[in-house]
């Protein structure tokens, strides 16, 4: 599978739907690095879907420019443009009369891949989203659980090796546990492929979990654009602070790694009897161990204890991140 993602630039985008009394997108400019996973976050009706749909030409802006990989999209036939951009929507939109494999093959067929290549690709994609090809290839969408349908939706969007993937509340319809698993899978896929991903959600925790960068939107405008930690630690307006509940320290702890906050062990063997967390785990998990009654938590890297965390360390890390 090819890796890499294209940069996307939006310049002063304005969208007003016919008959609407106010703009759905009201002067949005954004510069998205190639290979980034950017989350558009904001309440329902703030224009997230509309912004996404201007990028693949489903909505035509009244003014402004959109550049994908440096090229303006107005010159490209919309169907041509969309076949190069993955698109996943909340309601999944799998075609109920087509098997899983046929659904995944839609775009490769539109662009004329041969049958053998499509079949190889379909199986590889099912593996990528962790569905056993031999079991799932020939099933119909209605024979899948909600989470499995979302996986197929992602596989279908990635089928023709797009270097840009647009996802509109893709995990909105699945339950909380499946949702967490899908978020982890998406991060893994993003790291494996390096595709530029634009992900829409109104769920703050989801945004914080998966984003490299968060775009906070309100009433058709971008109010803040930055890393999750930055947006949480320095909300640009009271609206952002309230939306993200930025005062919630536990939320910020979720963005910090235990391995980054630990101190060296005072002496070898000191960790005997302490609870353990992994260096990759967040400080929230370390705090949870401390609240269970321990004074110190051992931080592991692989099989060895690499450091120690106390209440003070957690507090210091939180202050340093602000």
């Amino acid at each position: 599978m090819i890796a890499g993602g294209v940069p996307v630039r939006l310049e002063e985008i304005h969208v007003r739907y016919p008959g609407a009394d106010r703009a759905a997108i009201d002067g949005v400019s954004l510069s998205i690095e190639g290979g980034a996973l950017v989350v558009l976050l904001g309440p329902s009706g703030c224009g997230k879907s509309t912004l996404l749909r201007t990028i693949n030409g489903l909505v035509a802006p009244q003014s402004g420019r959109i550049l994908i990989d440096g090229r303006e999209i107005t010159g490209v036939a919309p169907e041509q443009l969309r076949r190069g951009i993955g698109y996943v929507i909340q309601a999944v939109g799998l075609f109920p009369h087509m098997s899983v494999a046929q659904n995944i093959a839609v775009v490769p067929e539109l662009i004329g891949w041969d049958a053998a290549k499509i079949r190889t690709r379909t199986d590889a994609l099912l593996e990528l989203v962790r569905l056993d090809p031999t079991r799932y290839r020939d099933r119909l969408p209605r024979q899948l659980s909600g989470g499995e349908q979302q996986r197929v939706g992602v596989a279908r969007a990635l089928a023709a090796e797009p270097r840009l993937l647009l996802m509109d509340e893709p995990f909105g319809a699945v339950d909380a546990i499946v949702r967490l698993a899908l978020q982890d899978e998406l991060r893994r896929i993003h790291e494996a492929l390096g595709t530029t991903m634009l992900f829409v959600t109104h769920d703050v925790d989801e945004a914080l979990r998966i984003a490299d960068q968060i775009v906070v939107m309100r009433a058709g405008q971008v109010v803040q654009y930055g890393s999750p930690l930055h947006v949480l630690a320095r909300p640009a307006t009271p609206y952002v602070a309230e939306l993200l509940d930025a005062a919630d320290s536990v939320r910020r702890l979720q963005l910090l790694r235990s391995g980054d906050a630990m101190r060296p062990l005072p002496s070898a063997g000191a960790a005997a009897g302490w609870p353990h967390v992994d260096a990759a785990h967040t400080l929230r998990e370390a705090l949870s161990r401390l609240l269970d009654g321990a004074d110190c938590v051992a931080v592991d890297r692989g099989d060895t204890v690499a450091g120690v965390l106390t209440f003070d360390d957690v507090r210091r890390a939180l202050a340093a991140a602000a």
Binding site: E79, R82, P96, H97, V106, V107, L110, L140
Partner: protein, 204 residues
Amino acid sequence: MTYLFAHPFAVLQRLGEHVELTVLALVAASAIALPLGIFVAKNERAGRLVLGVLNTVYTLPSLAVFALLIPVLGIGTLTALVALVAYAQMILVRNVAAGLRGVPRATVDAARGLGMTPAQSLWRVELPQALPVIIGGIRIATVTLIALASLAAWINAGGLGVLILYGLQHDDPGRAVTGSVLAAALAIGADTALRRLERRVRTG
């Protein structure tokens, strides 16, 4: 029904005419109704107008339609065909349009978002999903046409109606009953077969 066993070939000929008339009308009507139904589904306002006109035709008494057509087309099979096609339009167009409108917004959105042209979305996604409803329309139209085709005998267009009409006019109930029973059997058979087809294509 004794008439059936006394004159099997005459009955078979009328049955054949009846089927032929129904099938021809159905094929012609479907060929018109498919594009018309697509138009109605895709054009809200103009679509309502089309359905209004078709509905008016549909509510006209069938014998009156035959009567209206005779000055233009004369009597015979062509007139019967035109009348049957006109009647079936309402049912077929309404179902094609309803089937297409019933395709979830999100599905069409996905099709367009993946890069299908409007025509590709229509043929590969929307029509296959509307198929059960469309076949439902064909089923109802078929049953209706089989019944209406019995009236074609009035204008000399053949069919099982000939047996019924002759039987009534010449006090030959056996002949009339044979015609009626066969027409009913034809309608029930077609209904059953199309119901089965409808179920087979239903997905999701």
